[in-house]
Symmetry: C2
Subunit: 260 residues, 2 copies
């Protein structure tokens, strides 16, 4: 098992019908990458309990170190994430008295009393730790299950981000800073640069270079290069970028390189 | 097998490191939903040939009617989608002379000659149909495989969208128009509205109502309701929305409803 591999499971029909863009997954993936973790897969599914169970079980069977879910934690009929986690891990749902009290107090402040759907949010899989929701109502959970940490966060971005910053950055070890550099390369088609990129990635260990063609009709040939690594210190990264630029200039002497 | 079930497979490290948001998946999901299709899952993976093969095989094993991939079609070492499709479906890669000629002509117009990486883009899985790329270089493919249609589109949004509009809307049957309506509901907490939503979805067949809490600290309680269906004609949809509003007013007489 690779100890830094994470999967994200995004839950919500609104993602599958294209009503919203999955900015939660991108936000989490960026945070984790900055901390040195490797996101292997992002799975987006609807509010269907069997689909969620399948997605969690599949991820567990891949030996994922950490699974982070977003969405499906609220009080409505289609908030199924907690039920799915309990079923996927064969754990009972248990009423958490502290969470129940918390929900009651939040409702009271709004002049409301506890309803059955609100009470549902106080049931959590046996053995879970609670992540308090300081913005909304539904709590998140952290569950250690047979070597995998399962983390369930809300789908509302402000609630998810607050929980992540407060609690998740504490439990997920910082591994290594992400180093990155972007270059714009003119006058070299992607296919011609390709062998140079392969050579560079062979010569310099643990770097990743990705090219994206940006040429519009009639423009001069333009490529964006994204160079990154989770293995270098600041003091070495500048030298590596220089080495990459030198090699590209040497192999493609008609090119122009611009730093972004 | 449900004849309207589609899965999207998004391929690219830039998605897994959170460098970009997956707008391609959202764009495709919206288009398909508008045509009456149901997107069941969106899987995002990196440029790893084994990961792509696994994702395709898993989707095939779920009996998916149509699989649409985006990304990984270019000339670079990490463009692995075509290789993965050929391996996942046990088909040989065959040099397509027409595609090769097309690529050569595109390069010639830019004053370039054919390189090995560019030639790679002319190899396609046996039995595939070609989707011409009118904006960039890498062609897309359509492959009928044991009852599943596998469609591979580029990751560059302008190229992907152009191919989808030109070719995919022709081969995917239009099933039914998406009807939708958004309402803002004030003064009802999500948990109190939840049983009403369940009742409505029982009374009115084939509608989906999703609530999203929008209350900020200190605001009055605010919910967005998104109501949609792929089963109603224009003439009936207005009546259904009225029925939903009436029921909500009847059950929660302290609420305010605003149409968006």
């Amino acid at each position: 098992m690779n100890n830094s591999v994470i999967e994200i499971i995004s839950i919500g029909e609104e993602l599958l019908i294209g009503k919203i863009v999955n900015t939660n997954a991108q936000w989490i993936a960026k945070k984790l990458t900055d901390m040195g973790w490797k996101v292997r897969r992002i799975t987006t599914i609807g509010d269907d309990v069997n689909e969620i169970i399948s997605a969690i079980r599949e991820s567990l069977s891949r030996g994922t170190k950490v699974i982070i879910t977003t969405g499906g934690l609220g009080p409505t009929f289609d908030d199924k994430t907690i039920e799915a986690i309990s079923k996927a891990t064969n754990r009972r749902l248990i009423l958490d008295e502290n969470v129940l009290k918390e929900i009651e107090e939040k409702l009271k402040r709004r002049g409301r009393t506890l309803s059955e759907p609100a009470k549902k949010m106080a049931y959590i899989p046996e053995g879970s730790k609670i992540i308090n929701n300081l913005i909304g109502t539904a709590p998140g959970i952290i569950l250690e299950h047979e070597g995998t940490t399962i983390i369930a966060l809300p789908g509302v971005p402000s609630e998810m981000e607050d929980m992540f910053e407060r609690e998740i950055t504490k439990i997920l070890e910082f591994k290594h800073k992400l180093q990155e550099k972007e270059l714009t390369i003119y006058n070299v088609p992607e296919a011609e640069l390709a062998p140079t990129i392969i050579e560079l990635m062979r010569e310099i260990p643990n770097i990743y270079i990705k090219s994206h063609p940006k040429t519009e009709l009639g423009d001069k040939i333009t490529l964006k290069l994204h160079i990154y690594s989770q293995k270098y210190e600041d003091k070495d990264w500048g030298k590596i970028v220089e080495k990459i630029k030198e090699k590209i200039r040497e192999k493609h002497n008609y090119c122009e390189i611009e730093e972004i």
